[in-house]
């Protein structure tokens, strides 16, 4: 931990912030700054300031100077809200402490830093080191002091003549507990001048110096180890251990210029003796001596294990108050919640407590306002955290109650303070930026400002909930119905066809039989010489046979239809003509007056042969 003058640092940062006021947040600037002129032996600071979250700082080698410490980091942020638009500027500065050693003009090379993966380079600086008191050196000057109270006859300075003691207020503490460290310089000889050469950098401690350490250090007489000393409280700091274990506060190194009387034996005149008076410095020589204080061992205990979740590292004794600037506001306007932590302890090291804002709020990192003071009694005052949140839509919201937990080292327990719940009523905002998901496409724009269409008139009587038709019982029935009808139809149709084909085959088969029967009858008639009956039977035999065989219904029977049917059946031409002849002759002979038995016989034989022939031809 570096010991830096907090006050000045803050002052410097504020200046930097003011200077960079008009910087846009997007532009990364990385600037080195430092004094142009310093006095030889003086301590000074080189600061690197960057306005964005950065990492990987690579500093130049300060080889021309005595490197005292660093970098120590500090952050400052500034937030602006204009019409719900939030812009935030952040300043991170890294400070190095150097001491000018040699006279001359020295250049400090550029440093580099990485912001969002990009490397930025700073400007170069040149520092002129001059002899004596340089006006540009703003650093602490060696404090001069004339010690003229005691004039003692000492030739050399013993360890007991002048020394520094570091006194810690406590040596057995908890992590984060405040410890006061007082550096007392004990002198038994007059001191012309003293300067602190090296501010101890004690690992594991965070140090803060007293805010108002101007003016003379406190001086008083004290007896130590049986000897009377003039004591000056040259320095007082408060340290806060950041880790547990046995920690050491490193010694303070300083240089003193002690006045030692010259070893003069001869007596001189009045004036001589007058000038011998240490007030004039006559008869004395200044002797330089480096002294350092003792190391202080501090035993730091770990905080108890039952750490509450909300614990944010605060150790001391605090109280908290919270307020919102308003409880009713339109959407898209900023709501401020202020949290003030007041008390005594490591105030500056407190992390801001988490406030659970509703999800619909846009929340920004809180701004912290440091109103602490380091006084003789320690760090006290208040840290103010200002949270800014912007509700994005209408509604009633709750900022949930939360807790601020700190550790009280005096009692050795955690203390939980509650931050109350706030109810926020957000009314409709005027801004157009409505929601995170906002994106209106062109197609939707046509509906801007349009109204819905008018009501529907009921055209039929209202009915109560009914089942859907598709898939209902009726639907399936109606679906199966045509299928059943079809099957039925096909079945009937097939039966009919079969029936018909049966009739045909029967007639076909019976044709020959019937013809034979009739021919037999005709024979009988011929034998009994019954002329008319013979012709009737004979023509019946021929007609019936052809009708049955060729599927001609009886009503259609005529000579022409029979001949046509026979032709269509594809019989030989001679059979067709024979048939035609026979039919004609039967008609003719039937009504002829004279008929011989021979003719009847030949007609019978012709008909008989023809039927046999046709039976063979037609299948």
């Amino acid at each position: 931990m570096e010991i830096v003058s907090k006050n000045r640092m803050r002052f410097l940062t504020i200046i930097i912030v003011l200077l960079s006021w008009n910087l846009k947040a997007q532009d990364v600037s990385f600037v080195a700054s430092g004094p142009g002129r310093v006095a030889q032996g003086a301590q000074f600071r080189i600061s690197y300031t960057v306005n964005a979250q950065a990492s990987n700082l690579k500093a130049p080698t300060f080889r021309d100077f005595n490197f005292l410490g660093g970098p120590s980091q500090s952050t400052s942020s500034n937030m602006q809200i204009i019409n719900g638009q939030v812009s935030q500027t952040v300043q991170y500065s890294y400070t190095f402490h150097l001491q000018a050693v040699n006279l001359g003009v020295f250049e400090i090379g550029e440093a580099s830093i990485t912001v969002n993966g990009q490397t930025h380079r700073s400007n170069k600086l040149s520092v002129e080191v001059v002899a004596g008191n340089a006006p540009a050196a703003r650093q602490q000057q060696p404090q001069q002091r004339q010690q003229n109270t005691q004039a003692q006859e000492v030739q050399t300075i013993g360890a007991k003549d002048v020394f520094v003691r570091a006194i810690a207020s406590k040596t057995n503490v908890y992590e984060g507990e405040e410890i006061a460290v007082l550096y007392k310089m004990y002198t038994a000889i007059p001191i012309a001048q003293y300067s602190i050469n090296k501010i101890p950098s004690s690992r594991g401690f965070w140090t803060s110096e007293l805010s108002d350490r101007r003016g003379q250090p406190k001086q008083y007489q004290e007896t130590f180890d049986g000897r009377n000393y003039t004591v000056a409280e040259i320095r007082k700091v408060y340290v806060y251990p950041q880790q547990s274990g046995n920690l050491k506060i490193e010694p303070l190194e300083m240089e003193i210029l002690a006045q030692v009387r010259k070893a003069q034996q001869q007596r001189r005149g009045f004036w001589d003796s007058f000038f011998d008076d240490p007030f004039f410095g006559g008869g004395h020589t200044n002797v330089k001596k480096s002294i350092s204080s003792n190391t202080v061992n501090i035993n730091v205990r770990k905080l108890p294990d039952n750490v509450p979740v909300e614990f944010s590292g605060a150790v001391g004794n605090f109280s908290i108050s919270a307020s919102v600037d308003r409880t009713e506001l339109p959407a898209n306007e900023a709501l401020k919640l202020q949290l003030t932590i007041t008390g005594k302890g490591n105030l500056k090291l407190i992390d801001y407590p988490t406030i659970k804002f509703p999800k619909d709020f846009e929340v920004y990192d809180p701004k912290s306002i440091d109103q602490t003071k380091v006084t003789e009694t320690g760090t006290s005052g208040s840290m103010i955290f200002e949270y800014v949140a912007i509700p994005r839509s209408k509604g009633n919201y709750k900022i949930e109650a939360s807790k601020f937990v700190f550790f009280n080292p005096a009692k050795g327990n955690y203390v939980s303070l509650s931050i109350p719940e706030f109810e926020i009523k957000v009314s409709k905002g005027t801004g157009s930026g409505e929601s995170i998901l906002t994106s209106v496409n062109q197609k939707e724009l046509q509906y801007v400002g349009s109204d819905i269409r008018f009501l529907n008139k009921q055209s039929h009587a209202l009915t109560q909930k009914k089942l859907l038709f598709f898939g209902s019982f009726v639907y399936w029935i109606l679906l199966i119905l045509p299928l059943l009808l079809f099957i039925l139809f096909i079945m009937i149709y097939k039966k009919e066809i079969k029936k018909r084909s049966d009739i045909v085959s029967v007639r076909n088969k019976k044709a020959g039989k019937m013809a034979r029967k009739r021919l037999l009858q005709a024979r009988k008639m011929l034998d009994s010489n019954a002329k008319n009956e013979f012709y009737e039977e004979l023509s019946k035999a021929i007609w019936g046979y052809t009708a049955d065989k060729l599927m001609i219904s009886n009503s259609d029977l005529s000579t022409e239809t029979v001949i046509d049917a026979v032709k269509a059946a594809g019989l030989k031409v001679e059979i067709v003509s024979n048939l035609e002849n026979l039919l004609h002759e039967c008609e003719f002979a039937r009504f002829a007056p004279a008929n011989s038995e021979n003719l009847m016989n030949s007609l019978y034989t012709q008909a008989y042969d023809l039927i046999i022939l046709m039976d063979k031809e037609i299948k």
Binding site: L462, Q464, L468, F469
Partner: protein
């Protein structure tokens, strides 16, 4: 004698018919009319109450849902308007006014979520299915099925070659028609009975990454957004919002369409 009897019964029927109308103050249609008049007179709350009472009595019609939604819209209750417009759409998907009003209501909502456009054939298919309601698709499917068999029968029995040829073609065409109308009816029914879409009713909901209130918030949506329900675990449901983002929320924030 018979003539006299017929006239008597006709008069009786008329009497009953008009009598019903005379008494009819609390018949559903009269309530509907009353609500309609309230709406005309810009008394939206009264209209809303009456329409809602009909809905609570299980009356169903596109007009009823549509009008209820309109009254909600006028009362600036856009989530409810969205819900009932969507329900009206379920009954008559092809109604142009309903679709227009849904778009107008969408514009009134807090979130303007860009909908992921559907593929052209999905869009075509949907507009085809939405041409008719489930009932009419079902009627059509029955008619086409009947025609398939008519032409099959003609094909089987006709001896004429040209007839056979054409009846064969018609059989195929009607078979195709039958299949598409049945499919459309099926999808319509599926659409009407599905419970996989819901409207966000809570003013504002944090959508979580998993069904657990301690899990991290993915995004916030506001009332009126139509979401698709993907999964359910206990009283948590996984939803998909129109822009394709998914997440979990409590079921109580939703009302299934």
């Amino acid at each position: 004698m018979d003539m006299k009897k017929g006239i008597k019964s006709f008069i009786l029927v008329l009497f009953v018919f008009f009598g019903l109308f005379a008494v009819a103050d609390n018949t559903p249609n009269a309530t509907f009319e009353k609500a309609y008049e309230h709406y005309l007179a810009n008394e939206y709350e009264e209209a809303n109450e009456l329409f809602l009472s009909l809905v609570e009595q299980n009356y169903v019609s596109h007009a009823l849902y549509y009008n209820l939604a309109s009254s909600y819209f006028k009362m600036e209750e856009y989530a409810n308007a969205m819900l009932w417009f969507e329900r009206a759409k379920r009954i008559q998907p092809h109604d142009e006014n309903t679709n227009f009003n849904i778009n107008v209501t969408k514009y009134k909502l807090e979130d303007k979520i860009e909908t992921v456009p559907e593929l052209f054939f999905v869009r075509w298919f949907k507009s085809f299915v939405n041409m008719l309601s489930e009932r009419y698709w079902a009627y059509l499917s029955l008619a086409f099925f009947f025609l398939v068999f008519v032409f099959t029968a003609i094909f089987l029995i006709t001896p004429n070659f040209t007839f056979r040829k054409y009846s064969f073609y018609f059989t195929l065409i009607f078979l195709l028609f039958f299949m598409s109308s049945t499919m459309a009816a099926f999808f319509q029914k599926d659409y009407q009975t599905s419970t996989d879409e819901a409207i966000v009713m809570s003013e504002q909901v944090d959508v979580k990454s998993s069904p657990d209130s301690a899990s991290s918030d993915l995004f916030i949506i506001h009332q009126g957004i139509k979401v698709k329900l993907l999964d359910q675990i206990g009283d948590w449901v996984e939803v998909k919002i129109p822009n394709g983002d998914k997440g979990w929320m409590k079921k109580t924030n939703l009302e299934v369409i």
